[in-house]
């Protein structure tokens, strides 16, 4: 079954060509022009991935991302005309999983979509994670169930956050460089944006750490990357 993609883009020409191109790539895109319509479509139809333009009239892309995140862990790819640090980090912190910069190449966008789809499909019951569950102090990761528990209580993570935690948890104590994590979690090559990792780690910490400023589990190894403290 082809992936159902929701394209939220107010520029009609971009929306039309993008939907056509995505169809050519074998996806089933639906284009909407506003955040309000996007929320409406999401509530009525199953959606595998959302492309959100940051600059939208009415509810802007950041706000839309925040609203979607309240109810759904669907992968969100932010489409931005600005790659400035602040805009980007704001979007990622709002809950986006990834981003592409205008003007993008559809092949690149398609590669991003594929990477997130692959992870979405292999999320629970990931064949790569043979172990049933990992336990670190109060933190319990169960890749097979696709669940993370803190003191027995389920923590709600997005798929990307979950995948990131699983990568770190599969080799506790090992330091993962940003490049490694970008490749394994996002499917990026060497030139992936390290800020993706940084912001996701930050988001992850606010959800699983007792004190996000002094992390107990996901620890920074200065200049090298991140590791999960066993």
């Amino acid at each position: 079954m082809s992936a159902r993609i929701l394209v939220v883009e107010d520029d009609e020409r971009i929306r039309t060509t993008l939907c056509l191109a995505l169809e050519d790539e074998g996806y089933s895109p639906i284009g909407v022009s506003s955040g309000e319509d996007a929320i409406d479509v999401l509530s009525r139809r199953p959606t595998d991935i959302v492309l959100v333009d940051v600059m939208l009239p009415g509810i802007d892309g950041l706000e839309l991302t925040r609203r979607i995140r309240k109810t759904s862990d669907v992968p969100i790819i932010m489409v931005t005309a600005r790659s400035d640090t602040l805009d980007l980090v704001a979007g990622l912190e709002a809950g986006a999983d990834d981003y592409v910069t205008k003007p993008f190449v559809v092949k690149e966008l398609s590669a991003r979509i594929k990477a997130h789809m692959r992870r979405a499909q292999s999320g629970p019951g990931d064949p790569g994670s043979e172990m049933e569950r990992y336990q670190f102090g109060d933190l319990e990761i169960s890749p097979a169930e696709g669940v993370v528990r803190l003191r027995g209580e389920e923590v709600h993570l997005t798929r990307t956050e979950f995948r990131l935690l699983c990568e770190l948890g599969a080799s506790p104590g090992r330091v993962f460089s940003r490049e490694t994590l970008l490749e394994r979690v996002w499917g990026y090559d060497y030139f992936g944006d390290g800020r993706l990792v940084d912001v996701h780690v930050r988001r992850l910490r606010t959800k699983i750490e007792p004190d996000a400023a002094n992390p107990r589990y996901v620890v920074t190894s200065r200049g090298l990357g991140y590791k999960l403290q066993p």
């Binding site: 520029d11 020409r13 971009i14 060509t17 993008l18 056509l20 191109a21 050519d24 005309a81 600005r82 400035d84 640090t85 205008k102 003007p103 993008f104 190449v105 559809v106 092949k107 940003r178 060497y190 030139f191 944006d193 390290g194 800020r195 190894s221 200065r222 200049g223 090298l224």
Partner: protein
């Protein structure tokens, strides 16, 4: 039609109304502002920084000494003139008074003495000669007395420091002629006063001379004092002038500092008058200028950035549409495919231009910040070359740099490598070699990324200019073969600067250009 007067309209009609067409251009304030007379006519809303600079520098050249020196010298001269004329007046008054006083006392003394001589001579003519009377006549040390009896001068013999022969002949003549005379004269560097008169009762001429030593001493003391006071006043005035000028110039220095700070890129520099009402207008004008300048620069950079952003949307549509068409190549005719490829290539170039412009506008706005990570430079260079898609040249990594770590923004260094490689391909006959070596000598502590090309090299005169925006080498005239945006090397140098590195171009030994990028090496971390 070279002179442009302030009343531009008249000048226009007078100078060339009949023969020259574009009269309207003469009326434009720009032309007026840069008139050869150097007279700047600044029109509201028209800011011509070039004309401004021109004018200021010209004025500076005309000026020889600094304002402060001039003020101090002016003060000193004014004080000197004033004190000197006061001194002269004082000296003259004192001198006149002193002389008058001495003369009147000398005259009184003379008449008293004359009375005495007359009485003595009349009484004792039989027993005493005039010389003896003069001898017995006690006078103060500085006084000499002479008698002319029967045409013969007689003086005292005791003191003898001064004889009647030393008196001025004119004086003697007048006295002998019977005219009572009072005259000052110089003898042996001393001033003397001679008083003489004919005494009819004894038929003799009596002369007395007084040495005015007191007068000379008093006058020299007065003169010396006045000279000293004048000197002190002059020096004091110069110092006061210097001090005042320092205070006057201080705001100028503050303005100059602020102006150079603005020129240095700190556009938010403003002045504070510190409540001084005299400086209010200066600071207000300066701050208004700075505001206007900042607003204008902001507007320009924002404009470039906005334009680039606005172009991104249509570009996205274009690129996506071209990709759609590329997916349907088979449905197109041969001609259609050729056109599609042309379109594709130029849209890509356009895309790159927009990205470059946006990048530049970020540098201009000071909004560029490096997304720095600690990376192995050798790996980054290899990956970057790989990403350029043309690894058909040797890459040499010095073994000493294999593990060298730099703080780098991978994306930016990737652009640096890509642009240098691209530049070598477009202007330098292709890349000959890329190497990574440790910096030595003055470049110790850096790692050098070297891109050698097979071209003719860069002339020494162009080695700075080549990093300017839209700087075009001779090769770039071949636009057909070149895909550059004209911003490549300038972006490279901005990227490198953002890394606290440096970039320059040299001759490659054996021919060709050698672009060298020096990046600071991070100290080896203990964790590694």
């Amino acid at each position: 039609m070279t002179t442009v007067r302030e009343d531009g309209d008249e000048a226009t009609s007078a100078a060339g109304g009949s023969s020259h067409g574009p009269q309207t251009s003469l009326r434009s304030p720009r032309l007026r502002a840069s008139s050869p007379s150097g007279h700047t006519v600044t029109t509201l809303g028209q800011f011509d920084p070039m004309a401004r600079t021109h004018r200021l520098s010209r004025r500076r050249r005309r000026r020889r000494r600094s304002l402060r020196t001039r003020l101090a010298v002016t003060f000193a001269f004014a004080a000197l003139g004033l004190s000197a004329s006061l001194s002269v007046v004082t000296y003259t008054l004192v001198r006149t008074n002193l002389i008058r006083e001495q003369e009147s006392s000398a005259t009184a003394r003379f008449f008293a003495d004359a009375q005495f001589i007359k009485a003595e001579l009349v009484d004792t003519r039989a027993t005493q000669s005039p010389a003896e009377i003069l001898e017995s006549f006690t006078t103060p040390v500085d006084t000499e007395a002479f008698l002319n009896v029967d045409g013969r001068w007689q003086g005292r013999t005791s003191t003898q420091q001064f004889t009647i022969d030393d008196a001025p002949p004119a004086f003697k003549q007048r006295v002998l002629a019977g005219i009572p005379t009072l005259q000052r004269f110089q003898f042996d560097d001393d001033t003397y006063l001679a008083v003489g008169a004919y005494i009819p009762a004894i038929d003799a001429v009596f002369v007395e001379t007084f040495q005015l030593r007191d007068l000379d001493e008093s006058l020299s003391i007065v003169g010396g004092t006045l000279l000293g006071v004048s000197g002190v006043i002059t020096v004091a005035a110069a110092l006061i002038g210097l001090y005042l000028s320092k205070r006057v110039v201080r705001p100028l220095e503050i303005v100059a500092t602020a102006a150079s700070e603005i020129a240095g890129g700190r556009l938010d520099t403003r002045l504070d008058s510190g409540g001084d009402s005299d400086l209010d207008s200066l600071t207000r004008a300066f701050n208004q200028m700075a505001d206007a300048l900042q607003a204008r620069i902001d507007r320009d950079t924002r404009f470039a950035s906005d334009v680039s952003h606005e172009l991104r949307s249509p570009l996205t549509t274009m690129r996506t549409s071209i990709e759609l068409l590329q997916g349907r190549r088979d449905e197109l005719s041969d001609r259609g495919r050729t056109v599609l490829d042309l379109l594709d290539a130029d849209v890509k170039r356009f895309d790159q231009m927009v990205r470059d412009l946006l990048e530049i506008s970020r540098f201009d706005a000071g909004a560029a910040s490096a997304n720095v990570e600690e990376v192995r430079i050798a790996e980054l260079v290899l990956r970057s070359i790989e990403a350029t898609g043309e690894p058909r040249f040797p890459v040499e990594i010095d073994a000493r740099t294999a593990a060298t770590i730099v703080a780098a923004d991978k994306r930016r260094i990737e652009r640096v490598i890509a642009n240098l490689v691209h530049n070598a391909r477009s202007h330098g006959g292709g890349v000959r070699c890329v190497s990574v070596v440790p910096g030595e000598g003055e470049h110790a502590g850096t790692v050098l990324l070297i891109v050698d090309d097979a071209g003719p090299g860069v002339p020494v005169a162009d080695r700075e200019r080549i990093f300017d925006r839209f700087a075009r080498g001779p090769a770039s005239r071949r636009r057909g073969a070149v895909e550059g945006t004209g911003l490549g090397l300038s972006i490279v140098s901005e990227h490198v600067r953002l890394h606290q590195g440096s970039i320059w171009v040299d001759d490659r030994p054996g021919g060709g250009a050698r672009f060298v990028v020096a990046l600071p090496i991070l100290p080896v971390g203990d964790e590694r």
